[in-house]
Symmetry: C2
Subunit: 333 residues, 2 copies
């Protein structure tokens, strides 16, 4: 295992501490229990948004804490859900009296722990709504999920819901924006290599030198099939067809096209993939009106990418464009 | 070679086309000759800034084209300087009548080609100044360089010079800001694995499973020494000591601390490194007043990082903080 780490047991604590030190203008880190919240105090009357999940997907979620997006993020151990306690503590820290929305990737551990946290927070008098993200079309049910997995589309949900909260929407309205964004979003990924969980010390799976896995999950869970390495245009065709078929994209639709790196893939490759994906969509009469290219929802140092398409309407476009000030995503206000 | 590419000969053209498609709000791509310029027309009376160099270091340089930073970027083939022609074409495209500054990483090919381009542009009546970036303390002279190599510190030089141009400084004043920033900046890197140049098809060098290379260049050029893999805190100690000794950082100094990923290293590891680097500096009485963490100057999919320290004064801090709107770096205006 070749990584820039110290003791594998300290990976999350040290990374969160480094994140807090590097972005002290944006966030405050709580240790014991561990969560990251906005540096600014909660705005009375505004809905707060909390997300979280296992670590190893950085910048998700802490990288999206700040104005216009998340109020707090709760990182668990690598690839392991945080327990309810830090979620409740984060909820209490950011509630501004208008309620708190949980955005939860659809993995069994996360779903259970955020449900328990919601019950505990409600018992403390804080109104909580939860929205599950399940954008991954690769497989129905998997090693860690009942139903579809929540993957890169989470960024889009966090962005539009965050903008809705910032403009002053009610808790139910913010939850509705999150649900609507999730329903308009589909993703599928591919792996060229496996990441290595620090504690395990060995890659999560093995691929031959000339083999890739289509439909990989962000924890290295099995996808749809293993195929020989092929030109990226062919890989993009596979991912994009699965995504657009499932979403039912048709000529005249406007979409956000998001090419996401898995952590070990350089930007130059992501732009090559973006080029072809945009061309294919435009060839189908689909208008790519917004884009995102970069490593936003990763799987440690896995080489690979995912393609996400979100069908946009005027409101989702406006929420996507709204100002945001986080470590991983910024747009002027 | 496992990469998300098509034909190795098409890597740069396809990546630049994808970059242009994804960021059509910010840039316009010229093909034949290839360069990337701001979407906005040149502002009469404002100094323009052009940079460039071999591809494979993305987001450098095209990712820094936009308001507050570069006017144009000229990407050459992978790890190979662009020829003078596209540099001249970019110069003509962005000149606003106040002259053009070239920011050039100190590699022999880049230096020669940008010098020739400057002569040709001057012959066309455009005033050109050039500033070399040579922040890498690892080695004096190398495979591709007379003197020190220009590496991650280039981002800092492009940012402060870009802000100076945006506030309306004269060509000589913008060049002076660039020179002063370079003089205040030092970097050293480490590699865990080698990147593979698409045309070559094989990794640029070989490291044993338990071996890392201290002082690596961004083209995989030899560094100072190969040592056994060690905890990242020890690696940070090596890099930071070399950087701060050379820069002569002392207690009371204010600095920018920049931890840069080499392309294949995930963000989580960079934050772990940042944490220790910031602690060490603060233990020496050095105030880390600004930070940057991410993969900004890469070497294809190399796993590794570099640490950059820039000594800040009030003016450099103000220029660093000034608004910027590029694909890779944004700060509100």
């Amino acid at each position: 295992m070749k990584k820039l780490i110290n003791d594998p047991s300290d990976v999350v604590d040290e990374a969160v501490a480094g994140f807090g030190a590097a972005h002290a203008d944006l966030v405050v880190v709580s240790h014991d229990p561990t969560f990251v919240r906005r540096a600014a105090a909660p705005t009375p009357g505004k809905v707060a948004i909390v997300s979280g999940g296992g670590s190893g997907h950085e910048p998700l979620h802490a990288g999206f804490v700040g104005f216009g997006m998340l109020s707090a993020a709760v990182p668990g151990p690598v690839f392991t859900s945080p327990t309810p306690d830090p979620v409740v503590a984060a909820t209490q820290a950011v509630d501004g009296g208008a309620g708190v929305l949980y955005i939860v990737k659809n993995y069994t551990g996360d779903v259970l722990n955020f449900e328990t946290a919601a019950d505990l927070a409600e018992a403390e008098g804080i109104t909580v709504r939860s929205v599950l993200v399940d954008d991954d079309v690769a497989v129905k049910d998997s090693l860690y999920t009942a139903g579809r997995r929540g993957v890169a589309g989470t960024v889009v949900v966090e962005k539009t819901a965050g903008a809705a909260a910032e403009r002053g929407d009610s808790l139910d309205a913010v939850a509705e924006v999150a649900r609507r964004t999730n329903e308009a979003t589909r993703t599928m990924g591919v792996a060229l290599t496996a990441g290595t969980v620090p504690h395990a010390g060995e890659p999560s799976f093995t691929l031959a030198d000339d083999e890739i896995e289509i439909g990989i999950g962000i924890h290295g869970e099995p996808g749809r099939e293993r195929v020989p390495l092929e030109p990226v245009d062919a890989v993009v065709d596979r991912l994009l067809a699965a995504v657009t078929d499932d979403l039912g994209v048709t000529s005249g639709d406007r979409v956000l096209l998001f090419v996401n790196g898995m952590g070990g893939t350089p930007l130059v490759e992501l732009y090559i993939a973006y080029r072809h994906a945009a061309e294919v969509l435009e060839g189908q009469g689909v208008e790519v009106t917004r884009s995102l290219v970069g490593s936003y929802v990763t799987s440690l140092e896995m080489q690979g990418m995912s393609i996400t398409v979100t069908r946009l309407d005027d409101e989702l476009t406006e929420l996507w464009d709204a100002p945001v000030e986080t470590a991983a995503l910024r747009r002027g206000r």
